[in-house]
Every structure is written in structure tokens, then in C-alpha cells.
């Protein structure tokens, strides 16, 4: 082998080794690059999954919340409309009661309400106050007689001198005010409001 050929062989070997190392460097870089991309994609997929899962939850929660709000809102509207009717019935009843005191029927109503009060109070001596602006002449002796006949209750009744500010009805009381039955329309409405309300609702919405 000539000297020249020997030099060439040495040179070729050095270059070949360098090229081999260069290839290794590139290969390693490509492997690293692949790893970087794969890792990034995997991480991104994980992030995307979290975003999607949260998105599903949030969108469903939004939908549920909005529907629940609307359901409640319209449930309230429905209840309000029922209430409106009930209130309308009470308003009209109130009107009728106000008009009633100016009719002939009022006298009978007063008699009935006095008897109702006496039924609660029992035998004794009582004062009667007739409510309402209209003057009604009531025969208290007749009511005492009816009380005895119908209820078996002995009473002595007198008309109290004072007036009471009310739509109508009566107050029956002992003179010392230790027992009072307030049978004015307002008091009866107040006492009977809840059961009446239930009955009215049943009647209207059956």
C-alpha cells in the first residue's frame, strides 16, 4: 500500500467515525423530538379531556339551572294565578257582605250571629253591639226566646250603647267584658279565613 493510500485510509476512517457520530446525534435529536411531540400531544389530550369533561358538566349544569329557574318561576306564576282567584272570591264576598247590611236579610243575619254567640257563651246576661252603619231594629226578647227554644240557653239581653266600627255583624259580651264573642264580619272572616280558603280553593280548582 502506498503512503498516499494509507493517508487516505486514515482520513476516511476519521470522517466515517465523525459521520457515524453525527448520525447518532441526529438520530438522538429525532428521537427526542418525537418524544417531545408525543408528550405534548398526550398532555394536550389530557388537558382537552379535562376541558371537555368540565364543558359537559358546566353546560348540563347550566341547562338544569335554567330549567329549574323557569320551572320555579312558572310554578310561582301558576300559584299566583290561583291565589288571584281566591283573593278575588274573598274580595267579592267582602263586597256582598258590605251590601248585605243595607238589605232586609241583615236582620236575620244579626239574629243568627247573636244565637251563634250565645251558643258559645251559654246562659247568662249579655250586652249586644250591632255593627255596621245601618241602624237595625232587633227584638232581643225574641232572640232570648229563640235561644231558649232552639239552644236551651237562658239569656237576658240588652243593647249596648256603644257602636263598633265594622262592616257588619255583632258583638255579644258580658257587662264586665270578661266574656266576649266577636261575631263581626271582619272577626269571623279572620277566624275562618284559613278553612274557608281551603274550601274555596277546593271548590274553584277541583
Amino acid at each position: 500500500m502506498s503512503e498516499e493510500e494509507k493517508i487516505k485510509k486514515i482520513r476516511d476512517r476519521i470522517i466515517a467515525q465523525a459521520k457515524k457520530k453525527a448520525d447518532e446525534i441526529i438520530n438522538e435529536a429525532e428521537r427526542e423530538a418525537k418524544r417531545i411531540i408525543e408528550e405534548a400531544i398526550s398532555e394536550a389530550k389530557h388537558k382537552a379531556e379535562v376541558i371537555l369533561r368540565r364543558g359537559v358538566e358546566e353546560s348540563q349544569a347550566y341547562k338544569r339551572r335554567k330549567i329549574a329557574e323557569a320551572t320555579l318561576k312558572w310554578r310561582i306564576e301558576y300559584i299566583k294565578s290561583r291565589e288571584k282567584f281566591i283573593e278575588e272570591v274573598f274580595r267579592k264576598a267582602n263586597e256582598e257582605l258590605q251590601n248585605l247590611v243595607r238589605t232586609d236579610k241583615y236582620r236575620k243575619v244579626i239574629k243568627n250571629l247573636i244565637l251563634d254567640a250565645l251558643n258559645v257563651l251559654g246562659s247568662g246576661e249579655y250586652e249586644v253591639i250591632i255593627a255596621g252603619d245601618t241602624a237595625v231594629s232587633i227584638d232581643l226578647n225574641e232572640i232570648a226566646r229563640l235561644s231558649k227554644e232552639k239552644l236551651g240557653i237562658d239569656v237576658k239581653l240588652s243593647m249596648a250603647s256603644e257602636r263598633v266600627r265594622s262592616m257588619g255583624g255583632v258583638i255579644v259580651r258580658t257587662k264586665d267584658l270578661s266574656f266576649v264573642v266577636d261575631n263581626t264580619f271582619e272577626a269571623r272572616l279572620k277566624r275562618m279565613y284559613e278553612p274557608l280558603r281551603v274550601q274555596v280553593a277546593r271548590m274553584l280548582f277541583k
Binding site: I51, K66, F185
Partner: protein, 106 residues
């Protein structure tokens, strides 16, 4: 002659160094490019997911609106029916109250 050999080896080593240096520079570029591409891919995947979520939210809003409209219509119908049936029963209900308050006279 020996000097020639040494020089040739030095030249070959220099050339080898350059080859390796070039490979290292290329490797650096490959990594940088991979990092850029990784970020791009990541951004793309995340943006796609966000876009899907936007779609889901829009669909949820639309579905909710439709359902709300349905609830509204159904309730209004119900209220209308209620009004119709209650209207006719209103006088009886008024009488019930008046009768009860007046002690059954009327």
C-alpha cells in the same frame, strides 16, 4: 513524509469536527422545531376542545331555551284552563264565604 501524514490527519480531524458540529447544530434545530410543533399541536388540540365546549354550551343554551319556552307555554295553558274553570265556580265560592260568615243565613 511523516509531516504530510500528520497534516492530513489534522485536516481530516478538522473536517470531522465540522461534521459533528454541523450535526449538533442540526440536532438543536430539530429539537427547537419539535418544541415549536409540540406547542402548536397542544394549542390546536386544546383549542379544538374549547371549540367543542363552546358548541356544547350553545347547544345547552338552545335546549334550555326550548325547554323554558315549553314550560312557559304549558303553564300559560294551564293558567288559562284554570281561569276558565274557576270563573264559572266563582259565584258559588263567594256564596260559600258569605253563607259561612253570616252564620248560614244566605
Amino acid at each position: 513524509m511523516a509531516l504530510d501524514v500528520l497534516e492530513a490527519i489534522r485536516a481530516a480531524e478538522k473536517e470531522a469536527e465540522q461534521i459533528i458540529q454541523k450535526a449538533e447544530e442540526d440536532a438543536k434545530k430539530i429539537i427547537e422545531e419539535a418544541k415549536r410543533k409540540a406547542m402548536e399541536e397542544e394549542k390546536k388540540i386544546v383549542e379544538e376542545a374549547k371549540k367543542k365546549v363552546d358548541g356544547m354550551m350553545n347547544a345547552a343554551v338552545k335546549e334550555a331555551e326550548e325547554e323554558i319556552k315549553k314550560i312557559e307555554t304549558e303553564t300559560k295553558d294551564k293558567i288559562e284552563k284554570l281561569a276558565k274553570s274557576a270563573e264559572g265556580r266563582l259565584p258559588d265560592a263567594v256564596n260559600l264565604i258569605v253563607r259561612t260568615i253570616t252564620g248560614g243565613v244566605l
